[in-house]
């Protein structure tokens, strides 16, 4: 492939064909990753998988009782399950426009400002630095219907202020917006890193060819950003339920009326509020399985549309 050749046609890009490598070398490179992965990630998962089929309180000397699928049934038949599942869907779907799509044009804009964009970049990233616990506490304070800042501001203007956290719909919207606020700058940073790796001479070449900025965006920048976009999409969906855990725990405890709970939070409650090892393990396995299926589907659907080589 001829590098640096100016071209007015879109670059034809496919995933590079790599020769099949025989030999141990790749495995040597992978070993430092695979050892901790096996020991500290997959072994506990297997252990948890095993625990999901027994009724046992983990105490040495106490016999385990094999109960088959009873724990799974306990999770799926729980009165919390329907709401947790439905809300999980909402969290995941809402995360995509807010955390995957919106940061992209913001990143491109900041990139277009060159050095001057540094301020925006820095300020937007600040929420990532602060622990979410504090953010949740501060937001709870700001939204305090009696003594909070929003209430005071609205009172000055003559309006009243109900508590958005008091209604199920208001609460989940608040949590979603809060979680979006927290990771927005981080995703912008990821896109900026992706933009930074685009070779300038290609842009110059297209410009010399008379392409407008919009054409450059559409034909060059967007395709070359797809690896990063792909990454952000996958990571966001995988972590979407976990990312809202802290605000749920601090502000709403899953309520009001199950309005903000999700499957992750539900399993957490089972495992750590009532120490129900069996159901907690079954829930964990179910959650893992669900995320696995979703990610595989996305991988299948999207990997072909990701452009790697420039």
């Amino acid at each position: 492939m001829d590098v640096g050749q100016p071209s007015a046609t879109p670059l034809a890009v496919v995933a590079p064909r790599r020769a099949r490598f025989r030999g141990l070398l790749p495995w040597l490179f992978l070993a430092p990753l695979l050892v901790p992965l096996a020991l500290f990630v997959y072994w506990p998962l297997l252990h948890t998988f095993f625990l999901s089929f027994v009724r046992w309180n983990l105490q040495p000397g106490v016999p385990m009782e094999f109960v088959g699928l009873a724990n799974y049934d306990g999770v799926l038949a729980s009165t919390l399950f329907a709401d947790a599942a439905w809300n999980s869907l909402i969290y995941v779907l809402a995360a995509i426009p807010l955390k995957v799509l919106l940061p992209l044009p913001v990143a491109v804009f900041i990139w277009s400002l060159g050095t001057a964009g540094g301020w925006y970049r820095t300020v937007l990233f600040l929420p990532t630095l602060i622990s979410f616990v504090i953010v949740a506490v501060v937001v709870g304070w700001m939204l305090n219907p009696i003594a909070g800042h929003v209430a005071a501001l609205l009172a000055n203007v003559g309006g009243g202020f109900g508590n958005p956290l008091a209604s199920p719909d208001g609460a989940i919207v608040t949590i979603i917006l809060l979680s979006g606020w927290k990771v927005f700058g981080f995703n912008v940073l990821l896109y900026l890193a992706g933009l930074a790796s685009i070779r300038r001479d290609l842009i110059e070449a297209m410009r010399l060819d008379g392409a407008s900025d919009w054409t450059i965006l559409r034909r060059l920048i967007w395709p070359l950003l797809t690896p990063t976009t792909f990454f952000v999409l996958i990571a966001t969906v995988i972590f979407s339920l976990q990312q809202v855990f802290t605000p749920i725990d601090i502000l709403t405890e899953g309520g009001p009326e199950n309005g903000t709970t999700n499957f992750f939070y539900m399993v957490y409650q089972l495992a750590f509020r009532t120490f129900d090892i069996g159901r907690g393990a079954a829930g964990t396995v179910l959650l893992f399985g669900l995320l696995l299926v979703i990610t595989l589907i996305k991988l299948r659907a999207l990997d072909k549309r990701v452009h790697y080589q420039q």
Binding site: T79, I146, L251, T252, E253, G255, L270
Partner: protein, 427 residues
């Protein structure tokens, strides 16, 4: 035998003899110090107070070392569970009242009357704090760090509304809250929620003379006239009288400290922060928990007990001595004075130091006066508590939103709770 050998024999025999109980020993004199491991969540002022007490215990028992480990209160039960699973040493732990049944069902707790003198030293506590954790007639828990709900008052706001005497009954309290709302526009009252409103409901129901849960925690008993009336009261405060804001505990506490709330029913353990927050802003008052008309006052305690886990042997003996030490009236009173937890001994004021303290600190008097009316909390069964508590929370939300009366909603909720608990706790 040479002298040396005989001495060596004696040296080995003596500790064994003490350990076997053949020789009495006021303090353990082992060759290596016995280390007791104590898991708790006391930090800051309370943490220092605890360490002070433990040091005093060590001074009295040379040869015993107490290693205290701090873990956050909402993690500590999971931690204890992990510790036992991993076979790490565990002798004594601070256990939240609501987790007692779970711990008993799942972890190797040891009944306290392994020490034959337990009856005597447990008897030092006021009787209405004992009983939590009893099983098969044997005691498993020693009361340790309790609070009860009291009414914190913003005396300035109340004065502005024309209220100069602290309200005593719920009727008075509602009237005061309404006056505050009408004459100052501020919120009148807020009631403690904790545990997703579970504790709040329990407090109201018990105060009205009703019952909340069955002793084994498997059935909800508040589908009674008293329970329904209590829940309706809370619903009315929000939906009908509109004097109680809808917010979580943290927000309500912040509102009170900011001087925007006239009456805050909260745990007595929050006294010190309340005093600090009110300083320079408003005059703080404390009143006992409101009564339902002429009914006797009844409030649940909330807090933690100490439970014993040591395996048999010198560690268990040493730990039981620690329990005994902490049960002494002067020690328990010192603990109460330094931390703000209620003094749990029978007749705490018989101790002159305590009497002086109460004299000098008028704000603790209502809590002390309320002690004889305090009962143990009800505890949920080991499995299904999350679902059951969510049902309670949803019930309260519905009442606050005015979506029905308690008489309509409570029976269905109780039926659902019973179904959940019986399914997950097969007899």
């Amino acid at each position: 035998m040479t002298r040396v050998t005989r001495a060596a024999l004696l040296r080995r025999a003596l500790p064994a003899a003490i350990g076997a109980g053949l020789l009495p020993a006021p303090a353990v004199r082992a060759q290596a110090p016995i280390e007791i491991t104590y898991y708790h969540w006391q930090t800051g002022v309370a943490g220092r107070s605890l360490r002070g007490l433990l040091d005093a215990f060590q001074a009295e028992n040379p040869g015993v070392v107490v290693r205290d480990i701090f873990k956050q209160s909402d993690q500590i039960t999971a931690e204890i569970q992990s510790v036992v699973a991993a076979r790490r040493p565990l002798d004594v732990a601070q256990v939240l009242g609501r987790n007692v049944l779970f711990i008993q069902a799942n972890l190797p707790v040891v009944p306290l009357d392994e020490d034959r003198a337990a009856g005597e030293w447990l008897g030092r506590f006021a009787p209405n704090f004992l009983g939590l954790g009893d099983r098969g007639g044997r005691p498993y828990a020693m009361p340790h760090s309790f609070g009860t709900p009291v009414a914190y008052l913003n005396l300035d706001l109340l004065a502005q509304a024309g209220i100069t005497t602290p309200p005593a009954t719920w009727a008075d309290t509602i009237a005061a809250a309404l006056a505050v709302r009408e004459r100052t526009g501020r919120a009148g009252i807020a009631h403690i929620q904790t545990g997703n409103r579970d504790y709040g409901v329990m407090t109201l129901v018990l105060a009205n003379g009703g019952r909340y849960l069955s002793p084994d925690g498997r059935r909800a008993l508040f589908n009674s006239p008293e329970g329904i009336e209590a829940l309706q009261l809370w619903g009315d405060l929000v939906a009908r009288h509109r004097v109680h804001p809808v917010a979580n505990d943290q927000q309500l506490t912040a509102a009170f400290r900011a001087g925007q709330l006239a009456i805050h029913v909260n745990t007595s353990a929050g006294l010190q922060p309340a005093i600090a927050g009110a300083e320079g802003r408003f005059r703080l008052g404390i009143a006992q928990y409101p009564t339902f008309g002429a009914k006797p006052r009844r409030v649940p305690s909330s807090g933690a007990v100490m439970m014993l886990f040591s395996p048999e042997g010198p560690r268990r003996a040493a730990t039981l001595r620690l329990f005994e030490f902490l049960s002494r009236r002067d020690i328990a009173n010192r603990w109460s004075r330094e931390t703000g937890y209620i003094p749990l001994s029978a007749e705490p004021l018989a101790d002159p130091a305590m009497a002086r303290y109460v004299e000098e600190t008028p704000l603790v008097r209502p809590t002390i006066a309320q002690m004889p009316d305090t009962v143990s909390t009800d505890v949920w069964a080991p499995n299904g508590a999350v679902e059951a508590q969510t049902e309670v929370s949803n019930l309260v939300s519905a009442l606050w939103a005015g979506r029905g009366t308690a008489a309509d909603l409570v029976p269905a909720t109780v039926a659902r709770i019973d179904a959940i608990l019986s399914r997950l706790n097969p007899a």
